[in-house]
């Protein structure tokens, strides 16, 4: 029987310079490096989609549910469209939704977090109370309802996901801003007569930027996950192919009972890898920045749960 290992992780040294912190954060974590490489590769593939996709996206190039072959490495889908082509274009849409929705939620969450943390008092109270309500309302059902009412389009999907994913970011940023605000150099800057805008832009934001990046990467994972869920329920943009919609159409057109595993396995594997990569990279950065967050570090969804540690004003 092996012994219990009493291993306490030493907090990783936060470097002096802010530049290159992502590299430093994940340098010693091979899994996170692999995740970052995968994310970069996928992003490049997505950008180059029109040039590297081997076949046209909207044209039948072989038999329905054709088997994988040398011409079509992953076979053909229910419309006789090349799966590799579909996956390349699908990743493009999924990544666009992931990044754009995350951008929306970072702008909202970042602003609310900075304003609440920086000004404190009544502003903080009101903003955090609103955040509390948003935390409690289940996001996927709300997304479904809003998407169903607004009607399917890529823009709607992005907005719907974006306006619901900002809560965890707002909390994390607020806590950090609150501590930065009390630091001596910020007080000095204020004493020297710097305005709020200058202090926030010059002194506070650079300090929370790393956390914001970690939060961004983790939110991208959730956004991609949510996009596949919406697409699967028929609420995606019907004019675009996304990884979620590939899974959905394979399910609806009975790829399984036809035995066409190649139409349904690869898109799911890609989504899984994307989410895994984001979780690993985001987790590693966050881990390096703030060992206290370790409890929740591996899972973006867990962020919604974290406020339990202390709700409202004294939330960490």
């Amino acid at each position: 029987m092996s012994d219990v290992t009493f291993f306490v992780e030493a907090p990783t040294e936060g470097g002096k310079s802010r530049r290159g912190f992502v590299v430093r954060a994940i340098r010693h974590q091979p899994a996170a490096i692999a995740g970052l490489v995968f994310l970069v590769a996928m992003t490049i593939t997505a950008i180059l989609a029109p040039w590297i996709a081997p076949y046209p996206l909207h044209q039948q190039v072989g038999p329905v549910f054709g088997h994988p072959s040398w011409q079509h490495l992953l076979g053909l889908d229910d419309g006789g469209i090349d799966m590799v082509t579909l996956l390349i274009w699908g990743s493009r849409t999924s990544l666009v939704v992931g990044f754009a929705a995350t951008f929306v939620s970072m702008v909202i969450g970042g602003t609310i977090g900075v304003v609440a943390g920086y000004f404190g008092g009544g502003t903080d109270n009101v903003l955090m109370r609103i955040t509390d309500y948003f935390l409690v309302i289940p996001d996927v059902p709300l997304m479904i309802v809003v998407a169903a009412i607004w009607g399917p389009s890529l823009f709607h999907i992005i907005i719907v996901i974006g306006i619901l994913l900002w809560t965890s970011t707002a909390r994390v940023i607020r806590a950090q801003v609150k501590s930065v605000r009390e630091r001596v150099y910020v007080k000095r800057a204020r004493a020297l007569g710097a305005g709020h805008t200058r202090i926030v832009l010059k002194h506070v934001l650079p300090q929370v930027a790393p956390l914001l990046i970690a939060s961004t990467v983790l939110t991208v994972a959730v956004a991609i996950f949510d996009e596949t869920a919406l697409a699967f329920l028929g609420l995606g943009d019907p004019s675009r192919v996304s990884l979620g919609s590939i899974i959905e159409s394979a399910f609806q057109r009975a790829a399984i009972s036809t035995g066409a595993w190649w139409a349904i396995v690869p898109p799911g594997v890609l989504v899984t890898l994307l989410i895994l990569a984001c979780s690993l990279v985001g987790g590693a950065i966050e881990d390096a920045l703030n060992p206290r967050l370790r409890v929740a570090h591996l899972s973006a969804r867990m962020f919604r749960i974290r406020p339990l540690v202390g709700r409202g004003q004294d939330a960490v």
Partner: protein, 320 residues
Amino acid sequence: MRGIDYVLKRVGFAIVTVFVAVTINFVLFRLAPGNAVSNLSRVPHATQQLRHALEVQFGLDKSKWQQYVIYLKQLSHGNLGVSYENEQPVSTNLRIALINTLPMVTLGTVFAIILGTFTGVLAAWRRGTKTEGASLSSALAFYAMPTQWLGLMLIILFAGIFPTGGMTNEFLLNPPFWTHMKDLASHMFLPALTLGLTLYGEYTLIVRSAMLETLGEDYILTARAKGLKPRTIVRKHALRNAMLPITTLIALSLGYIVAGAILIETVFSWPGIGRAVYEAVLERDYPMLQGAFLVLTLSVIFFNLVADLLYFKLDPRITE
């Protein structure tokens, strides 16, 4: 702050949240594009008279505030409206759906809690070994899988062994009780397994983190210095203290499980609340969608409150 104050505050928060949720529910469905009559009654080319008659019938000629008050009043009587699809009261439809969902969801959750706690403790205990690596990577993999896709993969794996759709075998007419139960259980297996596996990954990560945190505490060192067996230390000292975050996190995640059931029930045609949401979306059955959304939100609020109270019960220091 005294304990009773804390409890009252949390209950108060929950009640206000319910109110906010109900209001969001009212507002959302009135933001629908197109005018209210075409949305609520689905008559694209109606005459003026018909439109007016419908507006009066649906109470849409009244002001928004009056509508809101009427909505609240009806809601307090348990009236959620009538489904467009089968013309049954929404509340009846939802009750049947909820009864179908609960056993499946419970089975999956219990499975996830047992497996997740086991692998999580194992991972923390064997920190830095291959065992930890294996349990952590499998947990992460299942955590990252899209729920609906995992369900479809299980269908491919188990097709022919377990039924992959519906809740009962429709060809069994008036089966004896045990046959019926067996039939039900075999239908429940795959959806419950899907739910269990997606949750298990998450739980493993939570349990492992909580265990690592407690294993680093001083009293563990003391227990070790006393010469206690590692097994005793893990069970009586570490796990017991780690249960605090674990229990509350699990209680909190219960609320989201109901939401996660939407995807699973769609894949397996399980006639529960999730499938009700899916069908309401497909048919643009707004009263059903509204009702189902309310039920899902209320369940999340409820489990949040449970988590808060549980936390207080386990750790009364929270009020200090």
